[in-house]
């Protein structure tokens, strides 16, 4: 096991940030922590990277205890925090050199690992980090987190606020790093990115809702889900919300995902109800649950 987390709890005054978190990440696994702002993702990252003590429980990273062996952990992990935390006044190259030196290595020694990513920012190597665009900052931060060839890579919301194109590129980079044998723990509020992980933990309010492969999590969804569409989205949502037998009503793209509380639900009854609410062009069809459906059902 590359990461072993056992019954970790952490509170800030009267806010419980983490409550009894336990899970393990295998060597070479790409593991996702999926949850919204305030779920406790960053607190867990800080505990695992030895920057914060847990109130309870224990954890090992690459075989080292996060409290006793913190120095070994710091040499074995790369950490990219959610907030950009490189030196804004140093250039791209100086930042990379700085982090290499701190870890007693050189850019040349581990250049193989960062080459794919670094070539994209190399044209700007003399530019100060503070003057880079969001996407370039993110690539530089990843290079700096990798320059000492860590066994485990921690990425805290690397794609928040990043557009879909850059997000896709970032995940392709992660997949390549994984192939080089690096274990990756990554957090994200984007549920569509969950599908790209080997396994995920759904996190909300400091608790794990579920841990499994993305496929298994989707399969566990307890009810049939229907795609519902009509001529007017706002009226459709209002009508479905007012429909007493509903179990959940969530807009999903150009459809609404609808589940019913009755076991013997008949879509025709729903159609008749919507028609009586002056809706037209009604479509009701079975669909498959997504990670987001599962998350919302568990978080309800």
């Amino acid at each position: 096991m590359s990461l072993h987390i056992s019954n970790i709890s952490k509170s800030y005054k009267n806010v419980k940030a983490l409550e009894g978190i336990s899970f393990a990440v295998k060597e070479g696994e790409l593991f996702g922590l999926i949850g919204p702002d305030g779920a406790g993702k960053t607190t867990l990252f800080r505990i695992l990277t030895t920057l914060l003590f847990a109130d309870q429980g224990n954890a090992t990273v690459a075989g080292f205890d996060v409290v006793r062996d913190y120095k070994n952990i710091r040499n074995s992990v790369g950490y990219m925090p959610g907030k950009f935390s490189l030196y804004q006044d140093l250039t791209v190259e100086e930042n990379l050199q700085f982090f290499a030196t701190i870890f007693g290595t050189t850019i040349e020694e581990n250049y193989d690992l960062i080459k794919d990513i670094y070539v994209q920012i190399e044209p700007f190597k003399d530019r100060r980090a503070g003057k880079l665009s969001g996407g370039m900052k993110q690539k530089l931060a990843l290079c700096c987190a990798l320059i000492h060839k860590p066994k485990v890579l921690f990425l805290d919301e690397p794609t928040t606020g990043v557009d879909p194109v850059s997000r896709k590129e970032f995940w392709e980079m992660l997949k390549r790093l994984q192939k080089k044998g690096i274990t990756i723990l990554v957090s994200t509020p984007y549920m569509d990115e969950a599908a790209l992980c080997d396994r995920i933990a759904l996190l909300q309010d400091g608790k794990i809702l579920e841990i499994d492969t993305p496929n298994a999590i989707v399969k566990h969804y307890p009810k049939p889900i229907y795609n519902v569409r009509a001529n007017n989205m706002y009226q459709l949502i209002t009508s479905l919300n007012a429909y007493e037998p509903n179990h959940s009503v969530y807009p999903f793209g150009d459809f609404v995902h609808y589940t019913d509380s009755r076991a013997d639900f008949n879509p025709d009854a729903l159609r008749a109800y919507l028609e009586s609410n002056n809706l037209s062009n009604i479509v009701i069809e079975l669909t498959e649950a997504t990670i987001e459906d599962t998350f919302m059902e568990l978080a309800k």
């Binding site: 949850g35 919204p36 702002d37 879909p164 850059s166 989205m233 706002y234 949502i237 969530y250 309800k300």
Partner: protein
């Protein structure tokens, strides 16, 4: 939805030195429309939005917002629009009530009106229990819902939302969109940017900016047909990757 144009931009351009951040964009937005303004980071969305809300003067081209000219009547625009950004929404060290009172005052509402509006807002959002708590202590999703309601306090014709749902949990994100639908249904025009492509599907029309230009503008359905894509995410990937 009426045909009345509440935003009209024609050849709107902004240059910083010899860099063209926004390159002659032309579009209209109708009353009550939910208009999605998409683009990759650095495509020029924020710069374009700053010109439309009257805080950055265009280098060339023209635009009217709520009937006022962005070059010569910027102050009138500010009074007739609402604006909400992800970065700056509310004052963390004021309570929910104090924030409402403060922004109501800024928008020039009477004391009586502010009192009336805050009661409705607090009731509609179910905030009675936290009305006297500091905003900083509330979850992000709540803040964003309050912030949106605050941006509507002065009943603006248009509300500009800059990535309002970033990092918000999926349930709250949907509640937020229900609020957007409601506002649009009541005739407020909604101009919104987002990186969630499922949210792009909720818009009446969507524009996609690439390197300062609007490269596509239509209903989500027509954009998907045009680019032979199953989802708006695929449309975006096809366009923005060139």
């Amino acid at each position: 939805m009426g045909n009345k144009k509440v935003i009209h931009a024609e050849g709107l351009t902004k240059m910083f030195g010899d860099f063209t951040a926004v390159n002659a964009i032309t579009f209209d937005v109708a009353k009550g429309e939910i208009f999605g303004f998409l683009g990759a980071n650095g495509a020029g969305k924020t710069t374009a939005m700053k010109m439309l809300i009257g805080i950055s003067a265009p280098t060339s081209g023209k635009a009217t917002v709520a009937g006022f000219d962005v070059c010569t009547q910027a102050e009138d625009i500010k009074k007739n629009i609402g604006y909400m950004s992800q970065k700056f929404a509310l004052y963390d060290d004021l309570t929910v009530k104090e924030n409402i009172t403060f922004f109501g005052g800024i928008y020039g509402l009477s004391r009586k009106k502010i009192k009336e509006k805050s009661e409705i807002l607090i009731q509609e959002l179910g905030l009675a229990k936290v009305a006297n708590q500091l905003v900083g202590a509330l979850p992000l999703g709540w803040k964003q819902k309050i912030s949106f309601s605050v941006s509507l306090l002065h009943e603006p014709k248009i509300v500009f939302l800059d990535e309002p749902t970033g990092g918000v949990d999926p349930i709250t994100r949907r509640q937020f969109w229900e609020m957007i639908y409601k506002a649009a249904h009541q005739g407020t025009t909604v101009f919104v940017t987002t990186h969630y492509m499922d949210e792009a599907e909720y818009c009446d029309r969507v524009s996609i900016m690439v390197n300062g230009k609007i490269e596509a503008l239509d209903t989500p359905k027509k954009l998907k047909e045009q680019f032979k894509a199953a989802t708006m995410n695929d449309v975006f990937l096809k366009l923005a990757r060139g």
